[in-house]
Amino acid sequence: MTTSGERLLEIEGLQKSYGERLVLRGIDLQVSKGEVIVILGPSGCGKSTLLRCLNGLEPVQGGKISYHGQDLAGPGVDWREVRQRIGMVFQNYELFPHMTVLGNILLGPLKVQKREPQEARRQAEQLLERVGLLERKDAYPRQLSGGQKQRIAIVRALCMNPEIMLFDEVTASLDPEMVREVLDVILGLAEQGMTMIIVTHEMGFARSVGDRIVFMDEGSICEIAEPQQFFTEPATERAQHFLDIFQY
């Protein structure tokens, strides 16, 4: 995958704690435009928390997150504006249950971005077509499978035209046969050059989609490496141990 090298996001010494417990102990990470970062690590290592900090869902206690000249870790961030440019997809494939598929997708573009309805609708339909769900545009979430809902959740985030997409274990709650259809959508985005930070437990997927693998443990980054390097010769013992668990 090619990256233009332009730095989009620079995280420096990011700290986050819940009360006394430090869950992010000084994270340093740079993300370039078009880059796909995959974060791996045992549960409780802080990888989901890191994503949530980047979307303003968790307040942070220290460090810097530079994004277009502003510090997202500092005070006075206009998160409403930032969230339109940093989209997020969650683990529990939730849609707004009282709205149709199109209603879900268009809520942000129409109410937050105040876009022209016809133009936004056209984009929503194009995106739905791309994930193979155009004919479900008037369905309600209860009529959809988990995999379909998660693809629509991705479209909902994409329809805001974000610059960066954050994926927080988006296949972890899905039935195995639905994992593929969701991962394919994300692979498609990678091919189009979308900048993404992906937290996942799908090792094969991580290897094929990631430009860099970030391995975290106990609130710190232990290792950053190219996928080939990471999966064949991890530099740290903890990464090796983590990978061993995934081999029977």
């Binding site: 869902l57 989209g87 707004f96 009282h98 109410k111 971005q113």
Partner: protein, 221 residues
């Protein structure tokens, strides 16, 4: 049992007028209670400091005192400090004072049943707090709480039956009067039950229809 049909026929206009009054009181009480409930539940949900405490005190006071006592207070108590209201206003204020707390609790229960992840979803697409309430929380809360809202509506309509205590000629009071004056107990009570059923049954049907409509998106048929 022989019913005095002549008496029934002669009493119909009295019951008709009383039905109107009962309906009018219930209508305004339901409208105002719902408005109070909507506003107060949003304040409680967002835990607005100071106001939340006041509203909680109001809820306790409203739910733990009988409507009759509340009406006496409004009708006989307030004039002592120079606040006079007509009987109809008193009844509507009293019913709203009672119904407001029930509506608040019904809405609040619904809002709190909307999951934290729904809130985060809304935030993650850039909705403001007001938009979050307007487009995400309240519509879902409404669908969840509509059965208890409906129960409150019928409850309020039936609670109008105590306004006779402040000299209003509602259905209950008319029936009591007729029994007292003519000893036509069976006829008067029959008309009373019929009148309440005529008011409440269509309301139940409308509420049932509304419930199906509002809940269709989330829960299907």
């Amino acid at each position: 049992m022989n019913l005095d049909w002549k008496f029934i026929e002669d009493s119909l206009p009295l019951y008709g007028d009383a039905m109107w009054l009962t309906l009018k009181l219930a209508f305004w009480a339901i409208i105002f209670s719902s408005m109070v409930g909507l506003i107060f539940s949003v304040i409680l949900y967002y835990k607005v400091r100071g106001l939340s405490l006041l509203i909680q005190a109001y809820i306790e006071l409203s739910r733990n005192t009988p409507l009759l006592v509340q009406l006496f207070f409004l009708y006989y108590g307030l004039p002592k400090i120079g606040l006079h209201m007509s009987e109809v206003t008193c009844a509507i204020v009293g019913l709203t004072f009672l119904g407001g707390s029930y509506m608040t609790e019904a809405f609040r229960g619904g809002m709190e049943a909307v999951s934290r992840t729904q809130v985060e979803l809304g935030l993650s697409i850039g909705l403001s707090r007001t938009q979050l309430a307007r487009y995400v929380i309240l519509p879902q809360a409404f669908a969840i709480s509509i059965p208890s809202l409906g129960a409150n509506v019928i409850f309020l309509l039936k609670e109008t039956s105590v306004v006779g205590a402040i000299a209003l000629m509602d259905l209950m009071n008319v029936a009591k009067d007729l029994i007292g004056m003519h000893y036509k107990t069976a006829e008067s009570l029959l008309l009373l039950v019929a009148a309440y059923l005529i008011l409440v049954l269509p309301l139940s049907v409308v509420l049932g229809w509304l419930e199906r409509k509002v809940r269709y998106a989330e829960f299907g048929d």
